[in-house]
């Protein structure tokens, strides 16, 4: 039996439960990656239903289809180029007006669609009742009520989607009709566009030209350069008629229409008392309590992750090293054994002892916070602070993640709106001392010089982050963006969705980080066997000994630290033949070593993440900059500290 293939796209605002529906539909048959050449996430999955093989693509959560963010461009390109058989528009029933604003734009793309009216239960709690039949009639598209986190209505949704496809003929959606002045000019432009073939439907092109959409202007210019100035003239006419820019007029009218549909289809029955979510919102964004809650939850999260991580990591490490005699016994103890064990296996162990103890709990907590809605409150509270380094509130989230591990933090920079901000946030993030660097700070400075010195280093690190963040913000061209963010109602997160999201993230991490960790450890092992390490020590000694005032072996340890930062400390102990560093290092040397280790380079896995998100050039630039910066900083610190201590 040959199975028929279908393509369904999920589209909608952020925080409407789209990913819950996606996870419900696709289960574990998912592939998460980036859109080609873009820092925008692309989630795909397949399912089999009623003899069909259905590919499902989860488009990014967006509020509009203009060119404000990469996500918006990617989404509208996808819908027009790939032409999914049907678009499922997931709509939050409790914020109908804003969601319908997006629905109306999807309809302008003239794609077959089904509307999933999600979170009808939450809407009911807020006192909103929606007349489905009326909404269907007003929109001219089928509407299916769903409660995604309970799986209610999902099968019906799928059936409706297939029914829509099988019916073939695209139902005439209620096209958004604008005011007369606008409609006249849309018609005039459509007449001019009759010979212009672009990806998008003519009416959509006409509207977007009036709105001054740069991407569409470029497309049209290629075919007929006369049309764009004509559209500009028409847009100016509207501006003088209405006293507002044409894009403002169109957006306003579209919102009016969305509001009108929403008001017609919904009935407001006022809720008797504020919901628990409302109360929680008030507390968690309170000017005093909000920060107290934020600080204590972060402390709790990091304390438990580090305690759990440290314990499990060591346990796993010991357990996995039990394999050493077995592996070496199998391959032989000579050079081959050294390479297989020291190169490949130790690389894998390094990876495993990061992933299981640290990365998994981290993602679990992150997705719990995200799905519950707390992350947006954190961004709200921290916006102010982040502005000091030229970023806005959302950037606090990758920064916070960075204290656990820089890799998810770099990948998490996708939450920023523009490519520039993503890069800035990622750069700042790589400077954050992750769990591995914390091992060095606490294990060396904290243990031998006292906790206050470790704290001083953390504080100094923060100052550097702010200073370099500001500097980068000034240098990298582009406009700063400000926080414009919806704070969705709190809700109980869906456990299965969190588990799946975590799982796919961990797979992604393994794919990015493991190859490089293994290759790196193999290369180092080869260098060691070939006797290159002594040469390396000699080559590096002008920097390590003369400039940084460290023992010559420190050079090698820092190189090993590139693989995995805490290796720098472990190697140092091995090479100096003691774990009592107080005997072999002066306090100043300890501080200088820690400072350099803190800043000198992102680890291989982080470099891999940077390459994936931003390309080779930028990753290389960040890496080289940080090496140079750390060395200069270390040298200066040495000279200043010898005066003090």
């Amino acid at each position: 039996m040959t199975q028929k293939k279908l393509l369904i796209a999920l589209a909608g605002n952020a925080n409407v439960g789209k990913s819950v529906i996606f996870n419900y539909l696709t289960g574990l048959h998912q592939h998460i990656g980036n859109w080609p050449g873009k820092t925008v996430e692309r989630a795909e999955g397949t399912l089999h239903f009623k003899g069909y093989t259905i590919d499902i693509i989860d488009l990014p959560g967006i509020y509009s289809l203009s060119t404000y963010s990469l996500e918006e461009i990617v989404s509208r390109k996808y819908i027009t180029v790939e032409r999914p058989d049907v678009v499922i528009n997931v709509v939050d029933a409790s914020v109908l007006e804003r969601n319908l604003f997006f629905t109306l734009q999807l309809m302008e793309l003239e794609t077959p669609m089904v509307i999933a009216l999600n979170q009808v239960d939450m809407a009911k709690n807020k006192g909103i009742q929606i007349d489905l039949k009326k909404l269907e009639k007003l929109l001219g598209a089928p509407v299916v009520p769903t409660v995604a986190i309970k799986g209610i209505g999902i099968t019906k949704l799928l059936e409706k989607a297939i029914e829509t496809i099988e019916k073939g003929a695209v139902e005439k959606h209620a096209q958004a009709r604008y005011g007369e002045e606008v409609e006249e000019r849309i018609s005039a432009l459509m007449a001019m566009l009759s010979n212009v073939q672009v990806l998008y439907p003519p009416r959509y092109v006409a509207i977007k030209l009036l709105e001054g959409d740069e991407e569409i202007e470029r497309e049209v210019k290629k075919i007929d350069p006369k049309i764009v100035p004509a559209a500009k003239k028409l847009a100016d006419e509207i501006r003088s008629l209405h006293g507002h820019a044409c894009s403002t007029v169109i957006t306003s009218e579209r919102y009016e229409l969305a509001g009108c549909i929403a008001r017609n289809a919904q009935k407001l029955v006022f809720p008797i008392k504020p919901t628990w979510g409302e109360r929680l919102h008030n507390i968690t964004t309170h000017r005093v309590m909000g920060y107290a809650i934020l600080a204590s939850s972060l402390l709790l999260i990091f304390y438990s992750i580090f305690t759990f991580g440290g314990y499990t990591s060591e346990l796993l490490n010991n357990l996995l090293y039990e394999l050493e005699p077995i592996v070496k016994g199998a391959v032989g103890a000579g050079v081959a054994g050294e390479l297989v064990w020291g190169g490949i296996f130790e690389g894998i162990i390094a990876g495993i002892t990061i992933v299981l103890p640290y990365i998994i709990p981290f993602y679990l907590i992150l997705y719990f916070l995200e799905n519950s809605g707390y992350l947006s409150r954190i961004a709200f509270l921290m916006d102010n602070v982040m502005h000091k380094m030229g970023l806005h509130g959302k950037a606090f989230i990758p920064l916070m993640l960075g204290y656990g591990c820089n890799v998810p933090a770099c990948l998490g920079c996708k939450i920023m709106e523009t490519q520039r901000e993503r890069l800035l946030a990622a750069f700042v993030t790589t400077l954050v001392p992750c769990a591995a660097r914390t091992v060095i700070i606490l294990g060396l400075v904290g243990k031998f010089l006292g906790f206050q010195w470790a704290l001083t280093l953390y504080a100094f690190n923060l100052i550097v982050i702010f200073a370099l963040g500001r500097l980068a913000f000034k240098i990298v061209p582009g406009e700063p963006t400000a926080l414009i963010m919806e704070m969705p109602d709190y809700r109980l997160p869906h456990a299965k969705t969190i588990l799946k999201q975590t799982w796919f993230r961990v797979v992604e991490f393994v794919k990015i980080a493991f190859p490089l960790i293994i290759v790196g450890s193999l290369a180092l092992k080869l260098a060691e066997i070939a006797g290159l390490l002594d040469t390396l020590t000699a080559v590096l000694s002008p920097v390590t000994v003369l400039w940084l005032g460290l023992p010559a072996v420190a050079g090698i340890t820092l190189i090993f630290g590139i693989l995995r930062k805490e290796l720098a400390l472990i190697m140092l102990a091995t090479l100096l033949r003691t774990t009592n560093f107080a005997l072999v290092l002066s306090p100043v040397q300890m501080i200088v070593f820690t400072l350099v280790a803190m800043f000198y380079i992102p680890c291989t896995a982080t470099i891999a993440a940077l390459v994936k998100e931003f390309g080779w050039k930028k990753a290389l630039f960040v890496t080289v900059f940080e090496i140079v910066f750390a060395i200069i900083l270390g040298g200066i610190a040495l000279r200043l500290l010898t005066l003090v201590i």
Partner: protein, 94 residues
């Protein structure tokens, strides 16, 4: 810093007190840093529903000139302070 434009009785959104409601009159685009396009943010605000004529209620501001929480079209938005300063509103009782 909040300048009142007496002629039109417009005030920036940040001049509203907590729980006060105003109607959006206009959004002043950024001072423009030369390159880049102020268009993006204005458009973004519009797309989030802050079109002229829309009622906005200020819920609260984060301390130390932090972002402003507003209610717009039935949903809750956080707006960076700089952004909120560019949104001009008319208050009902003035």
């Amino acid at each position: 810093m909040e300048k009142r434009n007496l002629e039109k009785c417009e005030v920036p959104l940040t001049a509203l007190k907590d729980k006060e409601t105003g109607t959006v009159t206009s959004i002043k685009s950024g001072r423009g840093r030369g390159r880049g396009r102020g268009w993006g943010f204005e458009k973004r605000l519009m797309d989030m529903g802050l079109t002229p004529g829309t009622k906005v209620t200020v819920v609260k501001s984060a301390p130390f000139h932090g972002p402003v929480e507003v209610l717009v079209r039935g949903s809750r938005l956080a707006l960076g302070r700089g952004m909120a300063e560019r949104i001009f509103v008319e208050t009902a009782n003035e």
